[in-house]
Symmetry: D2
Subunit: 434 residues, 4 copies
């Protein structure tokens, strides 16, 4: 995570202010519950809410001395609350605060990421509807295959990010648990009802059984899900990079007046945003591995996960947030060239209709083997002529072909509309409307 690839909404989640604010709420709600249970005086709970507060600088100062962040926070809090502060944090362990806080931060981050995906979905849907019938060639292996539409292409990304949205909702639920269970998770010094109260107040669920910490399989699953989302970002970014290649140029990132593509070559307009997104995806994805390595903590916990999370927590959420919003903008502003799509489609002298001719031949009684051979030998001539030859003409002139399929039927095989008849079906499946 670096400022260059950060948005303030997400970095704010990882600010000391937000962290200590959440710590404060955890401690205050826990004191409430303790008071309700008669463990601590009701006045103490009231005092925390009324007089409680903290200053980041003061906490830092204390931490430099005691080398323990939660103790530093509690000391600072006590300076505001006064004597009743000694009832705060009673029976709790630092991890109760730290892990529950991380759960809150990760759900806050998930909420922003969900909003990002919504923005991206909106952009994809708008552009998909706009280009529902913008015909272009479909490519497998980078080679022209058969016609499709740019709207269908965008629909595949819409469907993919809709799945990612569901996965993220799931991962948010998985990671959003509260643990207030004491030093080794036995509730020896704190009633389980405190945990239930804090969980409810913070919008979390109760961790059924914790050790000292919330189990890290939850976090591994969360980061793995973000890794999958990043991989989808890469797929869409790669698609656009391909479409912008000089020889293809079917779409282009928006290039503002006055922008410079290259310091040396004034003619350049490069897909730098999507190339950038490709890199960001690599970065986000890589953090899945340490998140998984964090699962196998020793016994009731060791603290090896902590340094990893201090880094990848902000790194991954901030970078992915930035990437998703950048991608939503790229899609929204993408310059599309339908004429180039059409020109490219027609580039290969009708080769894209080879399958239909094959089917016509088999329906005309030719064996699959022979039909394949007949079409292939004519198609290869078109390849070799670099698209300057015309498949239909060659087929008509091939006596073996014309013996099986009439010229009229052959012509019918080259109808573009044929390929578009189920676009409505696909759109209905993906967008729930025809």
């Amino acid at each position: 995570m670096i400022p260059r690839y950060s948005r303030p909404e997400m970095t704010a989640i990882w600010s000391p202010e937000n962290k200590f604010r959440i710590w404060f709420e955890i401690e205050a709600h826990a004191t409430d519950a303790q008071a309700e249970l008669g463990i601590v005086p009701k006045e103490a709970a009231k005092a925390v809410w009324e007089r409680g507060g903290f200053e980041v600088e003061r906490i830092d100062e204390i931490e430099r001395e005691v080398k323990h962040d939660v103790i530093a926070f509690l000391t600072s809090l006590a300076e505001h609350v006064g004597d009743e502060a000694r009832f705060v944090h009673q029976g709790m362990t630092s991890s109760d605060v730290l892990d529950t806080c991380l759960a809150v931060q990760l759900t806050q981050a998930a909420d922003i990421l969900l909003a990002d995906i919504d923005a991206l979905l909106a952009a994809l849907k708008q552009r998909a509807l706009e280009h529902k019938m913008t015909v272009k060639v479909g490519r497998s292996h980078g080679i022209h295959a058969e016609p499709t539409t740019f709207g269908v292409t965008l629909a595949t990304f819409y469907a993919e990010f809709a799945r990612n949205r569901e996965r993220l909702v799931q991962a948010r639920r998985d990671v959003g648990t509260c643990a207030i269970s004491g030093a080794v998770g036995t509730f020896a010094n704190i009633d389980p009802r405190v945990e239930e109260h804090v969980a409810e107040k913070l919008g979390l669920t109760v961790e059924p059984v914790s050790t000292q910490v919330i189990p890290r399989d939850r976090h591994a699953m969360f980061f793995a899900t973000l890794g999958v989302i990043a991989s989808s970002v890469e797929r869409l970014a790669t698609e656009i990079r391909h479409l912008q290649r000089t020889e293809v140029l079917e779409a282009e990132e928006y290039f503002s007046p006055g922008q410079k593509g290259s310091s040396a070559m004034p003619h350049k307009r490069n897909p730098v945003l999507t190339e950038n997104l490709t890199g960001l995806a690599r970065y986000v994805r890589a953090q899945v591995i340490p998140a998984m390595e964090n699962v196998a903590l020793w016994h009731e916990r060791d603290i090896s996960h902590s340094s990893v999370e201090r880094m990848i927590g902000p790194d991954v959420t901030v970078t992915l947030d930035f990437a998703l919003m950048r991608l939503a903008n790229v899609v929204g502003n993408l310059v599309v060239y339908p004429e180039r799509m059409k020109a490219n489609l027609e580039r290969l002298g009708g080769l894209i209709h080879s399958q239909r001719v094959l089917l016509a031949l088999t329906q005309g009684g030719v064996s699959r083997e022979d039909a394949y051979r007949l079409v292939q030998r004519n198609a290869m001539k078109v390849w070799e002529a670099d698209g300057k030859a015309d498949l239909l003409a060659l087929l008509k002139a091939d006596p073996e072909v014309s013996a099986a399929v009439s010229a009229e039927r052959l012509e019918a095989m080259f109808d573009l509309e044929y390929h578009l008849k189920h676009v409505d079906t696909i759109f209905a499946r993906v967008f729930g409307e025809s």
Copy 2:
């Protein structure tokens, strides 16, 4: 995946026989649907089911020539079916067969893995109930913290694998889709109702929009989920390895009569199974990265994912299946030493009760700061005496302590039962019963 770490149930899924059997079913069901729609003769569909068949060797032989596995399969099939075979596969593309087959194989694999997890859950539950009240020390940072029970420890693993089970159910659903949509996913040459029919017959859902292939975010999510499960395997394996250390020896892998721990040192009994599981977990986890790299295929597809999946499909499912069953056996046969647990617990002269003394002091009016200092200075003496000193005696003799808390109350702070009072709560949360 190597025979050493394989079970036949799972390797069978990846056998040529199973693969071609699924291919056959896809083609036969698709031909049925085509016949129902009037695209191909009903006799053709009937012929496929009645006369259809294949031989693995024959397919291999043909593939060596045509260098295309699906064409080889169809040729072999045609040798059985005869002339009607030309109606098979009509309008379909190889990926329709390959990707739908992979979806079936991965759901089959998921079913075995779910059964494995069930076996592991059963073993964990049985041993947890057995040792519900077997007291042992809880350790944070590898250092004695406070008492817990071995049953609670096992309950944390039960809860973790129960979560993993849910995640796998989800991942199975995610990856279990059927695509029969033709060369670039437009259904140009095949009616979407064929896809719907095949999906239903094979227990899959319909892929809303495919390109030539089923989108690989689904597979990435599947393998990421298996990576998380492998990480949980590592956590449980690591726990057992720790418990078996010579100095700890609270539990031990079953060691059969006649077994040899070391070729050189006849006295050795090593936790080799759980060390092995640690390695297997590393292997499974690593495959998440290429699975994620597979997502960003070019345009309507490239085939870079295929070689990866041919390897990690079997590798990951076979190895994880083996690991889960090995782990279930290790847990089921684990030799537990409650006396050693008790002995270790008492090893440190009562240090494990330091928090309660701290709380008693604060309740006795001492500030948190001072209370900490008082307990710590006595605790450090016990550390330095290597557990030969007694914390309770030291505290009683410390005038500052005894001024705040009576000897009687101090003694009450060293009660072991105090730590066990919520074990029932935890078990009720985890196992749904008290």
Copy 3:
């Protein structure tokens, strides 16, 4: 590692026969040294070489019983050698055999990989010389930049694989050590001179200090190096995939007569080999992570690395060997289309010369800022005309441009030869000749 992506030379290294043959040599050489030192009878050493032998099936049979592979091997060996066999393996530990054997296998594998790289380097050099002056456009960001030659492109890969060769030589040296140091590496029961003797006989160096095992940072470095080589494989594969794209088609994988590119579309010729290599590279690269996780073994060793190595040892070396040889063949047989290279180069109406015009303008006294603006505004017109406009003509017609640079000088800026003047320099640097 699967048969589909394997070559027999490399798989042979990982066969039981080769492994046990190496074990035999280790034991026999060690017994020789022991005899020389007077620890065991000279007859024993002689008997091992003369009567020694093993059968894989017999070893498997014994291992099923004793569950220890080295003990099983020694038992089988004893069945051949007779009574003197009791002097074999004296003072050694299983890991002395296993780890030294792995070192031999990895150096054998490295030798094959070095030969593979040599084959690839030879193919790259031959094609580079062939196309030293085959002009094509250089592309940054997938966008036409400036002219280069296909030979220069191939030279970059030659240089990269030459670096990889050096790295592999280094990694081979790093991993090729012999340890015969006993149960915890102290040589308590075996003289260090035995280790020295075995190392020398097997072409290894002595491990300066082992625990029970050879330290795994060596293996991590080895697999990391293979991961880098795999990444270079991906770069070359990706380059070829790009060149074969329909719209680019400057080069093509060899497509044999009778080959079928697609079961459905007879016109297809797909870069399937290089796509396949892209996937193989992902697979090889991913194994770097578990190899690094293997480093932190507990104390004098745990066995968690073993299962990983049993899998990734063959997986990585076999797959990378296959990939390198496949790549050498692809390069050797690559069909190159110089005319298409030329046609693509000219596609953009001279935009590729924009930098030279920029320099001419600044040399003509125009500020860099203004010069950039002048060139860019004319270049953008060519972009918008999809290459149908001509940059030179536009510049000549631009009064601000012609005020600074004469038409004659402008024309000179569009000279292709200008870009080729240092190709000799580059070739001399890379291939050591001009």
Copy 4:
């Protein structure tokens, strides 16, 4: 990379000041060379050195407008240099500056890391010599094996980090190249002698052939090497964590007076530094994957690597620097408990001598099989008595044993000195002295 885990020396390398200072030097040296070649006026080169300068804030300001960092820098530079500035950067491309700068930064970082390793090596050597003969038990699989010394253990780490040092020297050389070759690496607009001059001045070697960029296999190798070093950090950290476990407690991280191990449990002294290092190692290691994914840039370059490097460049070097220095301190200040080492060694009633008894029996004429059985059956009794039984006494009392080996000889087998006789050999190998 976060401030918590950063040292100012290393972060300074990644500061804008350092970066722009390097850019300035590259441009100034390049202008010198251009002047020497007569391409630009000598006054221009002089002016750059004399009047040249930049302000970070001003560059940022310009970049916000032109969205191109190198152009922003050059504009700022021109504001200082004046008119002659137009001769700066002539014929160069942004990547010439960026990539050569990164090479300088990575070699600067490598120099700090080498110094870190030296500090660690010094600490390891000092403690190894100090504890050369401090006897402790060697453990395989976490189980007591045979005696070794703590000095030997430290020597293994010394040897490992000495290897890492060599690897880093290699990686530094690999990554330290200079490229000034223009837009697609053909030197069309810049003489190769400029590159040679700049390389020499900056202490780099010449990149034999670049595209637009320095090939990323160099960087992948660099980060892979740091990943291996991080894995060694993890091994040493893990060793110390194990030694500090309550039940083992043979060594302990230094715990300062006034430090608090736990907010809740005043008795705790936790190995938090080495647990932290374990996490940092995971983080550093994970970045190897995106560094490898960066290799396969498209054609003459795409910019996907850039965002990754902007993050992992600082992340990895800063974090590893911090980790190495923390580790050097931990080793230097490690509190070692030789008495506990001795006590643990003796804990198992002499089991650690089982191999020698085995050898004595075979030398006494007993078959290896029988000897194993005889020792194992007595050893198991000691295990079961939890070390309260005595192996020597049991063996003496076993008639089958005493028939083959005399009591006197049995006693000799339990001699501790026997295991230490080659410690000198090992130290001579590792430290080059006896």
